[in-house]
């Protein structure tokens, strides 16, 4: 499958509140946001991986200087999450400053903003 259809499919799934990524048929490496070629082995054949949405916070920041279209939401809490099935994704977090720590268990939520579904993460079991 080419890059365009892979990305389209990933985004269609997000709209349906599903997080589905790719697993390389050759080397088994897992990707969340799709890439037309496996970065590890260079092959281009993938099977699908359905993620539970649970993961671990690897690192994060609280971003005060945000691009124009996020102005109303500043500051943005941004984190890099490693999913329990493997693969990483960066996303906004619904978490307060004292809930933020590296290694924190998180889960995915799908938040509708202006008719668009945004993938976010929140502390596991949190509100």
């Amino acid at each position: 499958m080419n890059d365009k259809s892979l990305i389209q499919e990933f985004k269609e799934n997000l709209k349906k509140r599903k997080l589905i990524g790719t697993k390389c048929r050759t080397c088994g490496s897992i990707g969340v946001y799709p890439n037309s070629q496996c970065r590890k082995c260079g092959n281009a054949s993938f099977e699908k991986v359905k993620f539970s949405g649970k993961g671990t916070l690897i690192t994060y920041t609280i971003l005060h200087a945000v691009p124009l279209r996020f102005k109303e939401n500043a500051p943005l809490v941004i984190g890099l999450v490693e999913l329990e099935e493997g693969g990483r994704i960066s996303a906004q977090l619904n978490a307060s400053q004292d809930e933020l720590s590296v290694g924190k268990k998180l889960e995915a939520i799908f938040q509708e903003i202006d008719g668009r579904i945004l993938l976010k993460f929140k502390p596991l079991g949190g509100i």
Binding site: Y33, T59, I62, L63, K71, V102
Partner: protein, 388 residues
């Protein structure tokens, strides 16, 4: 392949800063005229132009810089090319010119970088600069400073990097800029407290950890050995070039704590120069954010992992130290007119190697290394110079 017998025969730059009443044309004209004068070369001897710029189409509503540049300089008819590699475009333009001369097709190539960023408000400029990130990152509101902040946090946790060390990078580079009359912050002394008390931009990074938005232009002439013999009294030799790219999105990289493209580009440049780190006398390192100076010095193996901060505390990278880093003031305090930045770094090394750096001259400099980053470690260019 060795680079040998490629020379820098002229350099020139405008002041960096928030410049009133300037246009792309006036900046290009000023930097290029100084460079031609410095090289004592006639306009007619310029065989080609390479221009570097990040986003004139967004900042200034002008995207045809090759035509603009050739025309402004009275060089219409001369071939002109534009090179892009995000914020490393200036360094990419230099390396492209080196290859053009090395190919034998051109003897003297004029390389010009320009950026005029202060014609748009800060938040517009933040959005324009964020266009250098991966599409997914952009959709989440993730900017390059956000990526740098996430990388910094990991270095604080795992490599002993401290908040004070980051502040010290800013203090050192601002101190250096006091001796550089063309620097954006030529008169601004900065203390550790100033940095620590400045507003948070991307936690743990604060306003004073970041380079300013600067206007400015810088230019150099790259010449063949054949051409040098005719007109240049003090040519500086380009002995090594190396470039590399990295996985686009930070989330998809195996290595989250340093920049692999920096390591690769430096290895390649040192290899083409046939040199080791020990033979480099001074460095200009891409310090758009304070952690980059320290992490990249380690990526280029000038210091062991986790020890560049200590070297800074011990004064090793001060102007008077064993290995001066960013004596120009760096992007942090000399300024960061994006398209010009990589060229400005090589200009600083050229002045140092010619013993023409005025009050900030480091004595006895024989070699120098310039390091430029595009995006968050996406495109890296390393260039090595020697006195001939």
């Amino acid at each position: 392949m060795k680079v040998e017998s490629i020379f820098i025969t002229g350099v020139g730059q405008t002041k960096y800063g928030k410049l009133e009443g300037q246009s792309l044309s006036s900046l290009i004209y000023e930097a290029a005229s100084m460079t031609l004068l410095d090289a004592s070369i006639a306009r007619s001897q310029i065989d080609a132009i390479v221009i570097s710029n990040l986003a004139s189409n967004r900042f200034n509503d002008q995207q045809n810089l090759t035509a603009l540049c050739a025309d402004v300089l009275g060089l219409s008819g001369t071939p002109a090319f534009r090179t892009g590699a995000s914020s490393a475009s200036g360094a990419a333009a230099i390396q492209q010119a080196v290859m053009m001369v090395k190919s034998g097709m051109f003897d003297n190539v004029l390389v010009i970088g320009v950026e005029l960023m202060n014609q748009v408000p800060t938040d517009v400029s933040t959005s324009i600069l964020a266009n250098s990130t991966h599409p997914w990152e952009q959709e989440q509101g993730i900017t390059i400073p956000a990526l740098a902040a996430m990388c910094t946090r990991l270095n604080m946790i795992h490599n002993g990097l401290t908040r004070e060390q980051l502040a010290l990078v800013a203090v050192k580079n601002h101190k250096n800029a006091l001796l550089n009359p063309l620097a954006h912050f030529h008169h601004k002394k900065v203390t550790i407290e100033d940095v620590m008390n400045s507003p948070i931009i991307a936690d743990p990074l604060r306003l004073y950890d970041f380079s300013p938005r600067s206007d400015g232009a810088a230019a150099i002439i790259i010449s063949s050995g054949k051409s040098v013999k005719k007109f240049c009294e003090q040519p500086i030799r380009i002995t090594g070039i190396g470039a590399a790219t990295d996985v686009f999105a930070y989330m998809d990289r195996e290595n989250l704590m340093s920049l692999d493209a920096t390591r690769l580009a430096a290895e390649r440049a040192l290899k083409t120069a046939g040199m080791t780190q020990k033979e480099i006398d001074i460095l200009e390192v891409h310090d758009a954010f304070t952690p980059l100076e320290l992490v990249n010095l380690e990526d280029m193996c000038f210091f062991e992992r986790g020890s560049a901060g200590k070297a800074l505390e011990e004064g090793i990278t001060e102007r008077e130290g064993q290995l001066p880093v960013n004596v120009s003031g760096g992007l942090k305090a000399k300024g960061h007119p994006v398209g010009a930045t990589g060229i400005g770094q090589v200009l600083e090394l050229t002045l140092q190697l010619r013993n023409e750096a005025g009050k900030r001259q480091v004595p006895g400099v024989e070699t120098g290394l310039a390091h430029a980053i595009g995006g968050f470690g996406n495109n890296v260019f390393v260039t090595i110079l020697s006195r001939t």
